[in-house]
């Protein structure tokens, strides 16, 4: 659809601008201001220049949290994307069964983040939780509050439980838009299940998969509540991801300066990834429109 040029459209956007400026630009400016200063009691400030940046960039704390964060995001993407596609292909295509499946698999997406954490906190406990109890009874030593590996497994399982459905729903929307003539043609050609997937379904899912990967990456990159409730970032610092570390610094210790410098660097990374996201999405929209 051709859009017309109309500069007065600015007036329609103005309310959003004012509101988002209030809740985004003013706080961001404050963060920049704080990041160059040391605070005393939260209301007296001294200029320290780039000191906080230098300290953070050379501390292990930041890099360790970033490393854990990247590892977490990669692991959950590697599990959730293939699993999500698999589930999407296995979903019934029509009838009441399809509606029922849709509603059921969407359920985890609507649960408050802290309740997700709590559900798994209970579910994985070896004394009162079903999962923990079964795993322990099978002879494994499993305790997510003591053992770093167990904590990681539990956090990853929780995220897979929470968000795989999102990937499935997106892929399902992509698969459903395939005309049935394609499948009939494939059947006449006696195409294998794999080549149907490879040459019919996967290309149709390309657009939604891009969105799924980027949404999952961004959302896992800012994950806070679920691991905070489940493990509190522990044992030790084993599951302290970027947001958990930042909140500890900002609200726990009220270190305004370092927390602000941390925030700003965190935000710059987000900005970069968002830009890539946006560019890829626009390009894919255009490619689809050109077809």
């Amino acid at each position: 659809m051709e859009k017309t040029t109309n500069q007065r459209a600015w007036f329609l956007v103005l309310p959003v601008l004012i509101l988002v400026a209030f809740s985004s630009i003013i706080p961001m400016m404050t963060v920049v201001n704080y990041s160059f200063q040391d605070s005393f009691g939260g209301n007296e400030f001294f200029w320290v220049g780039l000191e906080w940046y230098r300290e953070l960039l050379r501390s292990e704390r930041l890099w360790d949290a970033l490393g854990r964060q990247l590892m977490f995001s990669s692991i959950i993407l590697l599990i959730e994307i293939p699993l999500g596609i698999l589930v999407a292909l296995a979903m019934p295509k029509k009838g009441w069964l399809a509606s029922l499946c849709l509603v059921l698999i969407a359920l985890p997406l609507l649960i408050p983040y802290n309740v997700v954490g709590m559900i798994w906190q209970v579910f994985a406990r070896s004394d009162i939780g079903l999962l923990g109890r079964v795993v322990t009874d099978l002879g494994f030593s499993y305790n997510y509050t003591q053992d770093a590996v167990d904590a990681w497994v539990t956090v990853v399982a929780m995220d897979v439980w929470h968000w795989t459905s999102l990937v499935s729903l997106l892929c399902y929307a992509g698969v459903r838009s395939i005309p049935s003539a394609y499948y009939q043609a494939a059947e006449i050609d006696q195409a294998s299940r794999w080549s149907v997937f490879r040459f019919i379904e996967l290309p149709k899912m390309r657009g939604v998969l891009i969105i799924a990967v980027l949404l999952r990456f961004m959302d896992s990159f800012m994950i806070y509540t679920e691991p905070f409730v489940l493990t509190g970032g522990g044992p030790g610092n084993a599951t302290t991801f970027l947001s958990i570390d930042l909140v500890k610094m900002a609200l726990g210790q009220f270190d305004l300066g370092p927390a602000a410098a941390f925030s700003l660097m965190y935000f710059l990374v987000i900005l970069l990834v968002s830009y890539v996201f946006y560019t890829v999405m626009i390009a894919s929209d255009k490619a689809e429109a050109g077809q």
Partner: protein, 268 residues
Amino acid sequence: MTKRPLPSLIMLAYLLFLLLPIYWLVIMSFKPNSEILGAFTLWPQDFTLGNYRTILTDPSWYMGFVNSFIYVAMNTVISLCVALPAAYAFSRYRFMGDNHLFFWLLTNRMAPPAVFALPFFQLYSSVNLFDTHIAVALAHCLFNVPLAVWILEGFMRGVPREIDETAFIDGYSFPRFFTRIFIPMIGPGIGVAAFFCFMFSWVELLLSRTLTSVDAKPITAIMTRTVSASGLDWGVLAAAGVLTIIPGAIVIYFVRGYIAKGFALGRV
């Protein structure tokens, strides 16, 4: 196509994986604490509604739900009111900086709440809005307004321009056209946007916990504070958890066809 058993098996296994933890939460909410901690039972032996009674009669619990509902409703109304005209502008017109604005909105949706927790705390304290519902509602606009704009824009793109043009030729003024013709036409879109604003505000914890202490404390914050205290009352906690799932579970049926669209910011 011939019916093969494998897809059904995969689906069944996945649903089992999804529903088991929820099942565990639900049955826990019907057990007394002695049974939760003392005996390992797959089904409540000593069925009780006491946990729910505690929540519905104790103001420190049920006020959490009331507070959550208040700021979530405020947030949904504010987000939709400002997002509707903006989404219309983005879907219909080309104007200076439109792409950049659209991108900037996206970055706000993607920004980690952890980055904003501290400055929000300082901002709302300085304007004396700390611990009020409106503070949380405004804070959640950070990600909900961009979300609403993107979703609504996706729906509005599907409405042909000819409708606008015909209405303007018929002498409708812009506000009259917008409220009388256009808004009813994208009714489902508004419903979906409202649902997602409601949901993302409902599930969020970090900002709502940071910006409240007593008067506007949401149910999610009350739950985490109870977790950190010693002597956990697992039964009541589980009951509160079940109650927080219910609003979403009721509405989900009506928007089931649009869930993917909503999460994908209207891009599907």
